[in-house]
Symmetry: C2
Subunit: 223 residues, 2 copies
């Protein structure tokens, strides 16, 4: 029997890093790969650097699919260059500006392709229940359908799992704390400056999750 | 009401060029875009040149998403560099070497993203019934599921259509002939040499489709 391998969609943020470490520690797989995408996000450099550092510490393989030459697909988002990143809470309507056209389907389909290319049987995706009504491609209906599509496309060679689908971010922080996720080198902020801005939707959510989980937040924020 | 726009997944081959011309001539859309992908296929230069020329003749916009910097996702296919392109009929087992990991899901998800970025409501995909049991991502189960996934991912802003799903290639040639598809500047061959090789699976199928449809084949083959 061949060695079991898995691919984790890994941005370098809190959720996907927790999922990555859980997949490694779970012991089901002989090899676990981190898979990321550069779709021209403003915070690409910081995010990708953090992910690379985490993978180096964990001594696992990391592949980044560079989609910057597919930029016309991802126009029109505050994350890829259109205007400023909005500040405030994710639940706010203004956060819709941070949606990126069909981003998660593109990422998951590439992750499934990468999984096939390395003979991995599973793709893990860190979507969670707090993943926002404003992002249709974070909802359960979406990733359940996506899992079916990947099954058809690969003759069931690759399966998609979203084990945090019913969790909120607070629970992920508690889980990550048990796994000793190196929070200080995870990256959330949509503004890719030297430090987390503390004001954009994902920074607000990051702070809130640490607070609700009762876990010390080691992040240095600008504000 | 905004002007209706559509995106056609267009490789420059016979099927997608027929579909492109039918979508334009159908008159349902004020603007039709041709969308292609460079995933590192050996025949990219010839295929993309043909598609560009067809679009120039039709005076429509063409966008190519360049995925060559995502090459690790597409390793392991005869189309992207692994060994020689097999010769013979598509129905033959050896043709499995030409499958590209999850290629069509990647292409369709990018096409849907591009559709969102230009405000198009529809993506057209030229899969047909002769699209081969060896390619799971050409089957109806796949693209029906993919259509559902795109619907979820985009809040039904983009719909996927595969109007040739029940047709064979012979019927597409007859349809293309009615639409006056410029066959001589369409490209099929998996070997991207100056002329069609005449021997690879897609060349064999191309010749057969012209013959069965009773349409003169203007292609210059090597053999």
């Amino acid at each position: 029997m061949p060695e079991r391998k898995a691919v984790v969609v890994h941005s370098g943020g809190m959720d996907s890093t927790t999922l990555l470490m859980e997949t490694i520690r779970g012991g089901m797989y002989a090899e676990v790969f981190s898979f990321g995408v550069n779709y021209g996000q403003k915070h690409a450099r910081r995010e990708l650097d953090c992910a690379a550092r985490i993978c180096a510490d964990l001594q696992i393989g990391r592949v980044v699919a560079d989609l910057r030459a597919a930029a016309p697909c991802f126009m029109g988002s505050a994350l890829t260059g259109l205007g400023a990143v909005p500040e405030g809470h994710y639940k706010h309507e203004s956060m819709k500006a941070t949606a990126v056209n069909n981003r998660n389907m593109v990422i998951l389909s590439l992750a499934a392709a990468f999984a096939q290319s390395v003979g991995a049987m599973a793709v893990y995706y860190g979507a969670h229940a707090g993943d926002h009504a404003i992002y249709p491609d974070c909802r359960k209906e979406f990733y359940s359908s996506c899992a079916a599509t990947i099954g058809y496309a690969t003759d069931d060679a690759v399966r998609l799992f979203a084990p945090y689908g019913a969790w909120n971010k607070e629970r992920i922080v508690r889980q990550g704390e048990l796994l000793r996720v190196p929070w200080s080198i995870t990256w959330s902020c949509y503004n890719g400056r030297e430090r987390h801005c503390g004001k954009c939707g994902t920074c607000v959510e990051r702070r809130e999750a640490f607070r609700l989980a009762g876990v010390v937040d080691p992040t240095e924020y600008e504000a």
